[in-house]
Symmetry: C2
Subunit: 501 residues, 2 copies
């Protein structure tokens, strides 16, 4: 085999995998947005076929051989090619370490788990879902051991979502958060609550909210020629290439703030994908570096920009123009306080900026315990509820609003949760760094956010997956990651909002 032959095989297979992923992504997007309900069965068949094709291509011995050849001849590769081969081999070594039977069996297990979880959540029936959690966690422990026999399985698992992440690092991270956020939340709760009652009791028509979505996306510089907007039960972002990204939202007619922050959050994800370097298109290096870096960008837009006073003052005239009767007599300051109301709640996806990380902490501790055997599956509801009482000070009334609320475990996304909290913390430190060279507040007040998005493109977006997440982050920051930026930010912000001084 020559280098050129190996490169041709590699590029050809990558192109095929990307085409299949694109087709599967569109099928799923369509399923979540506009497909009729009974279409699920047929879609399932087609997705199964395409994922089989993808598995064949990914595990084609010719591809393995080409990748091995190329990794043994690094001097004949560009820097980008070396990185691409490295990432490919990381993924394929994990897959290849799992016996084919177990791999296929796991896919079947997840298909089943998804259906069981949906029903279990609806019925608040943990017992029916418990055996599947056990099987899923058992499989993940086993797979982690196949791949890295000498490493703690949960470390292996964390590192699959965030290269280099370990329990030690995550423990330290959450330790730093818990230490500051739990007492801060107690002080906040001792003060009179922010009044957001003016937001309720009116109707904000979906049609008008759609116009608000268009306004917000344009404001944060999302190029609509490359970004579609759909409507789904749960908002998400999906991406096929840098000219084709989709965000979704959910309109609640009783309150426009839900969709507003979904749009800004998903818009942040979209911006990241849309500004991946041109030279990375069609390679394995295009798109976001990891889930936590992705969340650092979406939460950056949502919280550090979208929940700032300057941003609310900027957009409030537009809100009043769109909802003149609903927001009559309301001030921008009232709106600023309302969108920053902090209070312990049951549901992670509805949590505010201050309490969000505590929801994630609960899940992290539980996953760790399930991996090392210190928590048994049947104890989960009790453990969950005790942690919500401890960290958030509230009682969980049922498992539907407790341990059964998230889809992650039924989808096999074990070790994924910490990314959410890390992303928030990364974002706070990026904001501090950005402020050294950009007048962030000034840019927001001017309505031209390009100094902000330009900085993010220059330091994060354009690099795609060229660097491992922590390396990319520290390159952008010019110093090591430090969660104190995040806790300082929270303390300063909520001290002012709740008059804690």
């Amino acid at each position: 085999m020559t280098t050129q032959e190996a490169k041709t095989i590699f590029r050809g297979h990558v192109a095929q995998m990307k085409a299949l992923r694109h087709a599967m992504g569109i099928l799923s997007y369509d399923g979540a947005t506009t497909a009729p309900v009974e279409s699920a069965e047929g879609r399932g068949r087609t997705l199964a076929y395409l994922s089989g094709c993808s598995y064949e291509i990914q595990t084609d011995p010719a591809l393995e051989e080409a990748a091995r050849y190329l990794s043994q001849h690094p001097e004949e590769l560009s820097e980008l090619e070396r990185r691409e081969i490295q990432l490919f081999r990381r993924g394929s070594e994990y897959t290849a370490s799992i016996p084919r039977d177990e791999f296929v069996g796991y896919t079947t297990l997840l298909n089943k788990a998804d259906a069981v979880w949906h029903k279990a959540k609806l019925d608040s029936d943990f017992a029916s879902f418990a055996p599947l959690i056990r099987e899923i966690f058992d499989a993940n422990v086993r797979f982690a051991k196949y791949y890295k026999p000498d490493q703690a399985p949960y470390d292996t698992q964390l590192s699959r979502y965030e290269q280099g992440l370990t329990m030690a690092r995550t423990d330290a991270f959450f330790g730093a958060l818990k230490e500051r956020i739990v007492p801060l939340l107690k002080r906040v709760m001792a003060r009179p609550q922010v009044d957001d009652s003016f937001l309720w009791g009116k109707v904000y028509p979906t049609e008008v909210q759609r116009k608000f979505t268009d306004y917000l996306l344009e404001l944060i510089t999302v190029d609509r020629r490359r970004c579609g907007v759909g409507e789904t039960e749960h908002p998400f972002t999906t991406f096929f290439n840098k000219k084709d990204v989709r965000v979704t939202t959910h309109y609640h007619e009783e309150n426009p703030v839900y969709s507003m922050y979904s749009v800004i959050h998903e818009g942040g994800h979209a911006l990241y994908e849309l500004h991946s370097g041109d030279e990375l298109e069609g390679t394995l290096l295009s798109g976001g570096a990891s889930m936590s870096i992705h969340e650092s960008q979406s939460r950056f837009m949502e919280n550090y920009i979208g929940r700032s006073r300057a941003f609310i003052e900027l957009i409030f005239p537009k809100m009043q123009e769109l909802f003149p009767e609903q927001l009559a007599g309301v001030t921008a300051e009232q709106m600023y306080l309302a969108v920053n109301k902090a209070q312990p709640s049951l549901i992670r996806t509805e949590a505010d900026e201050l309490t969000y990380a505590l929801h994630v902490l609960v899940r992290y501790e539980i996953e760790k315990g399930l991996f090392d055997g210190s928590i048994a599956v049947e104890e989960l509801p009790g453990v969950w509820n005790a942690k919500y009482r401890e960290y958030l000070g509230i009682d969980v009334p049922d498992d539907r609003r407790g341990v059964l609320q998230d889809s992650h475990w039924s989808n096999g996304n074990v070790g994924y949760f910490p990314s959410y909290a890390l992303g928030s913390a990364y974002g706070a430190q990026l904001l501090a760094k950005m402020k050294q060279s950009v007048d962030v507040e000034g840019a927001i007040r001017s309505g031209d956010l390009r100094p902000i998005t330009g900085w993010l493109e220059e330091h994060i977006w354009k690099y795609g997956k060229r660097y491992d997440p922590l390396e990319l982050l520290e390159k952008a920051l010019g110093e090591p990651f430090d969660p104190r930026y995040f806790t300082d930010y929270l303390e300063e912000k909520f001290t002012k909002i709740y008059g804690l001084d």
Copy 2:
């Protein structure tokens, strides 16, 4: 090879082809409905890859061998299997008769032609599109000769869209139409025109029209759990299986009638696909028998039901409820006349029930002339305009609204146009037959259309592709096809509307 082995190979390949077609169909549907504009390039790449996969499967020698084996052992097959093998071989023999190079070259040609046509239409620049029309028609003539060397190429081409259709049959059909419709139209045009001015000059908000769509689809018994609704520039229907069909419409805020008839028309297509026999699912026999039978169903709903006086009287209260200010003071009778206004026009897709077939006739005569060499490509605009003057009595101001208006030729759909007119005529005869056992008007007046849809399901829909189109039709009719039912219908209807007696 055993029969069982051959069947397994055949079924497996059919399932794969269906999965690929499903994925390609969803990509195209997404592209036409909600995809951002710049997504086209990436979608093109993925579609090209998937269509390559599909070609490989379709031309896999193992499949050919299995199909040949099965066709040689008809006694071991069920009736449905025999029919399926017959249809498969018909398609694969055509493809296989074309040298691979030419087949691939033709795909590339069509890709190019589509882009050139879009621009040519925009600029009303026939000269830039002419060389591509020539190449496309040349290729189709050549392919037809490869496949059936002893048959007139245009007969071969007609029969690809409508098995058994010939120029002789089509000439006779259009002759019968022309003879009655042209003089009828002249008499109509000599009378005072119907007044539909009340429909114009107001705004019919898209939001409200969407509710009207829901109402109409429910009324004609479309099961929305299996049928999605999208919005596109040009309305169409697409189908993936009998639990997943999509119709689209286009809302013109200045007039609700455009979308209303798009919805009823596409709803007719949807009903046909949704009621294909259960035993045909997953086989090559599911879905509509041919384009003309499909059009007979969509036009049945649109014209014979949707433009009837009973139907307008049924839905008019709902229209006034949805558009109370816009339709204040209007009567159902005024609406009935307005939706049946006949007048020569330039654009086929906007033509009324009376003139529609004449638009199709122009295209049929031109295709025939291009195939037999009696019309040269460069003469097309002149020929087109002369025929519009002769049959419709109007002057074509530019090629954009003339010979460049349709996408069919640039897409390679040569020989396809007659289906539209045949469909209308089939529908009229089906209506006459249906009336022998169903109180059609009574069913409409009652608001319960199931006696009508039940009859269509029983005589057309459930059979899928089990019979060739004409055979299916004549089975349903109990007599040969006769276009006089259509011309009689038109004469009776427009005589009354325009007071011709």
